[in-house]
């Protein structure tokens, strides 16, 4: 899933400026799953904004909605109708959702309430970790199902580097060495001989380096 977290409230307030009518829009997708942009978070942010402005003797009209997904235009239609009564849409979706809302919102300002941080998994209760950088050329079959681009801090395709010590990466914070994880996993699955294969330099044109990417499926058109 896409992981995100709430921006500091002072940053959100600075973007809002003097907006008097703000529509808060949550998303039932990934940001609900990681507890950043669901209905509860919409309520919480609405109360926080109201309190912040009440304390400054300012008035604010707040609308609240949570959509099925903000990354599909069909789910935006009703919300965009309602948004005409507001000065600003404050979206609690990931960066993709915020951008689609902005594309469809005409002259209305659309602001993000979240920072989108990564594509990842739930590692344990209350903790999520990054697993994929969407490079567009998945190496997982060769690396024991552990992504060297994401899990190695240097994204080395042939590791580890000299910064690996006792299974940990030199960047600290208890970050495991991605290549140690790969070697351990290859060994556990009886595939350690794969480690001998030197991975060719990656073609990063399928990743961000090739510019914004599109996915086209003629069969779904």
């Amino acid at each position: 899933m896409i992981l995100a977290e709430l921006k500091p409230i002072e940053e959100i307030l600075s973007y809002l400026g003097g907006a008097e009518r703000v529509l808060l829009v949550g998303c039932h997708g990934c940001v609900t799953v990681c507890g950043a942009g669901g209905q509860k978070e919409v309520d919480l942010l609405a109360d926080t904004l109201e309190l912040a402005l009440k304390a400054r003797s300012q008035t604010i009209k707040i609308g609240k909605r949570t959509l099925e997904r903000q990354c599909d235009a069909e789910f935006l239609t009703e919300m965009l109708q309602e948004a005409k009564q507001f000065d600003v849409i404050l979206s609690l979706a990931c960066g993709a959702g915020v951008q689609l809302v902005a594309e469809k919102a005409g002259s209305l300002r659309v602001l993000p309430a979240l920072n989108t941080t990564s594509i990842g998994v739930a590692e344990q209760k209350g903790q999520w970790g990054e697993r994929c950088q969407a490079c567009g050329d998945c190496k997982l079959p060769l690396t024991g199902g552990i992504c060297p681009v994401t899990r190695c801090s240097k994204s080395l395709l042939n590791g580890p580097c000299g910064g690996s010590s006792q299974g940990l990466c030199e960047i600290g914070n208890g970050t495991p060495c991605g290549w140690q994880l790969i070697i351990d996993r290859l060994e556990a699955t009886g595939c350690l001989d794969q480690y001998e294969t030197i991975l060719e330099p990656a073609d990063w044109s399928s990743a961000r380096d090739g510019g914004p990417r599109k996915l086209i499926r003629e069969d779904l058109k």
Partner: protein, 316 residues
């Protein structure tokens, strides 16, 4: 009646209940409804009737037995030493096995709203929630109605059917009434059922129940108190909010730790919007430490009076 066999063993024990009623004032369920049937004594009498054949098993009776916050205060207060929770446990097992439709105070999930994020499954301190056949299912025997899952859910899909005054909407309604009816209302004290509340009930604190300045509300476990409820309280006009929780090591639900983390985040937010973080305080009070509860409350109220109302042009 063979299905009642497990309950039969308690017949003698039920006879020990002398109907003294010491359990009454310790029970949040009874305190909220003031109905005999909701008191631990009433439930024991109900079970007695079930065993004697005077009461027929029914969904109603089954639900009564599942309406409990598991604080165990009734058992500790029982003058006859009836192991109330053990008796309840066997009764609940009987009702579930017999197929009665039971909800009680156990947490339930609205499957249409649920996002299957599994956060409630992972965090349930009693391992009472599971993901089975595409749905979140509550094990009603394991669920202790602590409500820890209520504020975890981003979709607000989890509810406790009868909150007996402890559900978020009930708390907010009580706050609203307090501030609309008391000109001197200043603060709200959210108090955990396990630690501070028993102290609150003793005679020397009796007057605090009618304190026009501060409303004390029972939250069951502090871990179920959402930041939203605290913010709503400030928006209703409270000058400050005090949350009293158990010491972390004493909390059976991991609720104190979660409450402190939640309030810690809230305090940073309050600071960023220019509101004095002393207006929201969370304090550990061990079970039965009535003096600490009283002192904490008094110190908090003095601080709140110094800070004054939270209003434009005034102190923030």
């Amino acid at each position: 009646m063979t299905r009642l066999a497990k309950l039969e063993q308690w017949k003698g024990t039920l006879n020990k209940c002398i109907r003294c009623g010491y359990c009454y004032e310790h029970c949040q369920i009874y305190k909220s409804s003031r109905w005999e049937i909701d008191s631990p004594r009433g439930k024991l009498i109900l079970l007695y009737g079930l065993l004697s054949g005077e009461v027929e098993p029914s969904d109603y009776v089954a639900n009564k037995l599942f309406e409990c916050f598991h604080c165990n205060r009734c058992q500790k207060a029982c003058s006859s030493g009836v192991p109330i929770q053990e008796v309840y446990a066997d009764a609940r097992e009987f009702f579930l096995e017999a197929g009665f439709d039971v909800v009680g105070t156990t947490s339930q999930t609205n499957h249409d709203l649920c996002a299957r994020c599994l956060n409630c499954v992972r965090m349930c301190p009693h391992e009472a929630r599971s993901f089975i056949d595409g749905k979140i299912v509550t094990d009603r025997l394991k669920c202790q109605s602590c409500g820890s899952c209520l504020d975890i859910c981003s979709e607000k899909a989890i509810t406790i059917g009868r909150g007996f005054g402890t559900n978020p909407d009930e708390l907010q309604q009580a706050v609203k009434s307090f501030f609309s009816q008391n000109r001197n209302a200043k603060a709200v004290v959210f108090s955990c059922s396990w630690s501070t509340y028993p102290g609150f009930q003793t005679a020397s604190f009796g007057e605090q129940e009618d304190d026009p300045e501060a409303l004390t509300l029972i939250t069951v476990c502090s871990g179920r108190l959402g930041a939203h409820t605290v913010l709503e309280t400030l928006l209703q006009g409270a000058w400050g909010v005090l949350i009293c929780c158990c010491p972390e090591k004493d909390c059976e639900h991991g609720g104190s730790r979660r409450a402190k983390a939640r309030i810690g985040t809230l305090l940073k937010t309050l600071e960023q919007i220019g509101i004095d973080p002393r207006r929201v305080q969370i304090s550990e009070v061990a079970q039965g430490n009535t003096k600490l509860f009283s002192d904490t409350r008094q110190r908090f109220m003095e601080e709140i009076r110094r800070l004054g109302p939270l209003q434009a042009g005034g102190s923030l």
